[in-house]
Every structure is written in structure tokens, then in C-alpha cells.
């Protein structure tokens, strides 16, 4: 297996009082060494559920998970979906690691930063306390925290938001993971600090040759750091491709709608934003056909009634660029590329 991570046909279903919620429906994503793969989507699109599945954090007693999530560790590989829990624990944090969204609530307020970091190492290297402390200091300086010796003895409340996010990154890197999952790593941060953190992630990736799975809703962040992009809507991937494909010749109406609706610096401010009408559907009562159909303005270009009645497949003329839409791809390619050009100027 060349890839570090291979998600195949992942389906995640939660039971709720109102019925079953299919949060993730047939998602396939792979991550190779040194590559940044982004999942973009709005709240409820299934991006975080996907990322939590990869480190096996769903409660198996209630959550139904099918498909496979293969994670490579040297010569062997493990399927997170079916592997026993103790086996997953030995992978979690060591082979696959995660940076959580909210640095304010993800650190324990009662423990010193240094010991929280060391703990992450001790889980996989029991008893090696001195080594763990050394590694903690090393990681703190790697993520750009000045005076690590002093800071390691401080508590989370003595750190600013940006500094805490650096600590979260340091913690995720304690065991030199092959794959790093970053779930909205900069959403809680200010733009100037976001720029620092994104730069840090990029530098670390270059040095450590990590694969990064980046979960975000911010198209600007994606444009800045991603190599490949998966756009999710209502639990499914609606488009995937290289970052340039997605931003300059989107093929899914939803991707196009998103790109057109964001205000851009430098574009003329007096023009109205081109909002996507309506709201995302409830995951309990998804439309039978295309989930985006009720909000889509290109329905008339597809065969009659197909959008309402048939679920579109993830298809494409090239292996790398695929999308879900009933409108013929040639038609979309020309039309959407022209529209995105128009939105840019």
C-alpha cells in the first residue's frame, strides 16, 4: 500500500430519537506521504464524523460503521473499522494523530503543559519518563514556543489561543505520526495567528513528510495549503480533485455555488453576493435524488426529473477529478469555468 491512509466506502449511521442519521455515506479518501488532503463542507456535511472515524473515536455500541479505513504502519496495515479496540489504541496518537478544533477546551486545565505532552508519549512508551519529558521540550521548541523549559511548567490558562493551538500540534506530534488529522485547526484563531499556524503546519510537513488530512469550512485555508480537495455535502463527497481543478474549473453545482458566494478581497464590493438559496437538507429526511437538487439552479440542464429521483454517482472524465451531477460533464465544464472566471474579476 503506497498510501498512508485509505478510506473506502465509509458509511456512518447514528440512531437518534427521530430516526437514523446517515452522517457519512460512501466516502472514499486516500492520503499519501507529504500530501495535504482537504475535506471542505459546511456544518452537518459529515466532515468531522469522517475524521473521528479515522482515529476510531465513535462509540461502536451505538454507531453503525461500514466500509474500511486502512492505516499503514511500516509493513503492516490495520483496518480501523473492524480492528479490536486495543489494537486501535496502539495506533491512535502513534500512527494517526489528531489536532482538535478548539484549543481552549482540548487541554486539561489542572495539568502542566509539559506533563500533558509527556503523557501522550508515555502511552506508547510506558515507563520512559525521562525520554518523554525530553521529547516534550523538543516538540515545544519545534512548534515555536519560546523558552520551552519555562513554559512546560505552566498551565493552559497561562497560554494564549495561538500558543495553545501550538501545544495541541506539539502533542499530536509527540510520537512522530505518519498521518495528522487537523480538524478545523485554525477556526478558533485570529487571522494573523492563523497565518502563523498554517505556516508552521506546512514547515513541519516538509520536514517530517507527514500526510495531512485537513478538515475545514474555509475555502481560503484550503486554497493556501491543500494539494487535493474533497467537497462534502449532506454526508457525501460531491466533488473531488486537485486544488486547481476545484477552484478554477469546479464541476459540481454546490462547489461552484460556494465559490461564488464568498466575498473576495479585491473584487468590487458594491455587487451583490451570489448566495446559494435555501438551506442544507436534514440528514434524517434526505431527498431521494440529488441532495443538492432543491437548491440547485442547473436542474433544467439535466434530463427531466433525474435530479429529483436519481442519486447521482461520483463520476468524471479523469481519474483525479470527479463530481456528482446529472448534468452532462462537458456542459458543466464549459459553463462553470466561465462562471467562476466571471466571479473572479
Amino acid at each position: 500500500m503506497k498510501n498512508l491512509l485509505e478510506i473506502k466506502d465509509l458509511k456512518v449511521t447514528f440512531p437518534t430519537d427521530d430516526g437514523f442519521v446517515q452522517a457519512v455515506d460512501g466516502v472514499s479518501i486516500s492520503v499519501a506521504p507529504g500530501e495535504t488532503v482537504a475535506i471542505v463542507g459546511e456544518s452537518g456535511s459529515g466532515k468531522t464524523v469522517t475524521s473521528l472515524s479515522v482515529i476510531g473515536l465513535h462509540n461502536r455500541k451505538v454507531t453503525q460503521i461500514t466500509g474500511s479505513i486502512l492505516v499503514k504502519d511500516k509493513d503492516e496495515s490495520l483496518d480501523i473499522v473492524s480492528a479490536p479496540l486495543d489494537k486501535i489504541r496502539s495506533y491512535r496518537g502513534r500512527v494517526v494523530s489528531m489536532i482538535f478544533q478548539d484549543p481552549m477546551s482540548s487541554l486539561h486545565p489542572y495539568y502542566k503543559i509539559g506533563s500533558q505532552l509527556a503523557e501522550a508519549y508515555l502511552v506508547h512508551h510506558p515507563g520512559k519518563k525521562e525520554e518523554a519529558n525530553k521529547k516534550a521540550l523538543e516538540m515545544l521548541s519545534l512548534v515555536g514556543i519560546p523558552e520551552p523549559q519555562v513554559r512546560a511548567k505552566e498551565y493552559p490558562h497561562q497560554f494564549s489561543g495561538g500558543m495553545r493551538q501550538r501545544v495541541m500540534i506539539a502533542m499530536a506530534l509527540m510520537n512522530d505520526p505518519a498521518v495528522l488529522i487537523a480538524d478545523e485547526p485554525t477556526t478558533a484563531l485570529d487571522v494573523t495567528v492563523q497565518a502563523q499556524i498554517l505556516q508552521l503546519l506546512k514547515d513541519l510537513q516538509k520536514n517530517l513528510n507527514m500526510g495531512i488530512l485537513l478538515i475545514t469550512h474555509d475555502l481560503g485555508v484550503v486554497a493556501q495549503v491543500a494539494d487535493r480537495v474533497h467537497v462534502m455535502y449532506a454526508g457525501r463527497i460531491v466533488e473531488q480533485g486537485n486544488v486547481d481543478d476545484i477552484f478554477y474549473s469546479p464541476h459540481a453545482p454546490y462547489t461552484l455555488g460556494l465559490l461564488k458566494s464568498v466575498p473576495r478581497i479585491g473584487s468590487r464590493g458594491s455587487e451583490r453576493l451570489k448566495a446559494i438559496p435555501g438551506q442544507p437538507p436534514s440528514l434524517i429526511n434526505l431527498p431521494i435524488g440529488c441532495a443538492f437538487a432543491p437548491r440547485c439552479e442547473y436542474i433544467s440542464l439535466a434530463d427531466e426529473n433525474s435530479c429529483e429521483n436519481l442519486r447521482p454517482q461520483l463520476l468524471g472524465n479523469s481519474d483525479s477529478h470527479k463530481s456528482r451531477c446529472h448534468v452532462p460533464e462537458e456542459k458543466r465544464d464549459k459553463l462553470f469555468t466561465a462562471e467562476i472566471k466571471g466571479a473572479r474579476t
Partner: protein, 324 residues
Amino acid sequence: MSSPLLSVRNLQKYFPTSRNVGFRKEKLQVKAVDGISFDLMKGETLGLVGESGCGKTTAGRTILKLIEPTAGEIIFEGQDITKLRPGLMTPLRAQMQIIFQDPFSALNPRQTVGKIIAAPFEIQKVTPEGGVKKEVAGLMQRVGLNPEHYNRYPHEFSGGQRQRIGIARAIALKPKLIVADEPVSALDVSIQAQVINLIDDLQKADGISIVFIAHDLSVVQHISDRVAVMYLGKIMELAKTEDLFTAPHHPYTTALLSAVPQPDPRGERNRERIILKGDLPSPINPPAGCVFNTRCWKVQEVCRSKTPELLTVGKSQVACHFPE
């Protein structure tokens, strides 16, 4: 030039706080807003941008006298309202409204939407022509809500719809001034655009003046006529939107603009980014001289001793000893 709807002069808001020093308590002050001045014209939108902790929200609330200013003047339609007693403020409140950031906590969960939107009429004791109910239904229609949902509760609405409810409530009394405090930052991208368009339309139709507080520069650029950039309680740069975004004069504005990632991968690859070092200093003990001096790459000796004033540079007003 016509007289401004709102003039703010040297506005300060210090919050008291304390620190234990041995057995003694030392009194300190958080300088949340530290001497800001600006004018707001009729029908104008002024963007107030800055990072968390820069005092933009406090500024917005102090302008409306939701919190009492420490010093300075707030002049609304020629009347100094700085020292006005709460009782005398009430009739003026019909003229000045606020839209809150978080649509989930800004609405009373135990009141129906109809009651929430009708609250301003009740408080101001006015009965609109045709009755409150008809007026509320009309307002709901205007902000894109179905008037049939009059008797529903906030939890039955999505985030974007709740923000629309908040907007309907804010425009109910046809105010002249609205402070919009991060009205779209809690919303998803596709919904954000809908709400921005709505605010835009309502303003054009009614000629409302808006103070638009946000941290997202792309949104501010889109909606504002002029923009004020705040840092540690002070205005660093105040200019027409176009001038600010095409020719920023303050180093902080430049850094802020360069930090915003744009949905344009090719542009991002070739972009030179100014990465600011360090974090925002504490507003309890702001740096002497220019407050930005600890993170500025153009810092000189004078920046550490003398506070720069907001002066005219080109077409903009800039508080910097070495403007670009």
C-alpha cells in the same frame, strides 16, 4: 457636507480588575477601548475590524450606551448622549438597535418568534398602523421568513433563519443606526452570503447607518463604505474601503490583509505573506508608545516612547510614525 448621524470623540472604556500582590489587592484597568474617534454619516456603513480582544465589540456596545463609557463623547443627531440617564435614553433607543453575533443565544427560547419581533413595540409603547401582528408579519416577510411561522419557537429555526429573526427585531422600529456585531460569523458560508445580502438590501431601502463589527476582512470589504482597523483599543487606520484595501498605510493593516487566505490557489502560491511574530499584548498593560510596536517589523526607537496620533496620510487617517 451634511452633519454626521453619530460622532464619537475620544471614547474610552476601561474595565476595573484587580490582581493579588502578596496580601494586598492591586487595582488595575483593562483598557478595552482607549480613545477612539469617528463620524458616521447617514446611510453609511462603517466597518470595525480587528482581532479578538481589540475592543471592537466593547466599542459597539459603548456607542449604544449598553455599557457606560469611561470618558469621551457620543453625539447622536447633534445631541450629546454620553451622560444621559437610562430613562432619558429609552426614547432614543428606538433610533439605535443592535444585531448580535450569536443567533442561538440572542433569542429567548421560551418566546414565540412573533413575540420576540414584537418586543420593541411593547417596550417603546407604540402601536404600528394596522396593529402589531400585521406589522410583525410584514417584517418577517421582509427578512425572508414565512409569516405563517409566527407562533414557532427559536429552536425550530436554523442559524441563518434565527439571524433573520434578530434582524427583523432590529429593524422593527425603523431605527437610524444599527450596530451589527459579527452578524454572520456564526453562519455557514452559503448562508452567510444570504444574510449579508439581506442587510445590504434593508440598508439601501431604509437608509440606515450601520456600524458593522467583524473580524472577517472579506466580509467587511464587501459591505462597508469606510473601514476602521482596531488594535488594542485604538484605531490604527481609518479610510474609505477601496483605499484601505488597495493602499493600506499602517503596517498592521498590511499584515492583516496579507494574512487573509483567499479562495485562489494560484494567487496563494505566489503571495508574499507577512507573518506577525507573537501574540496580542495584554490590554491591562499595553506597550508604551505605539501599541503595535511589539509586533511591528518597522519599529524604531520613537515607536516605543511616543504614541502616534491618527493623522491624515494620503486619503486615509493613520496612527503610525512610519506609514507606508
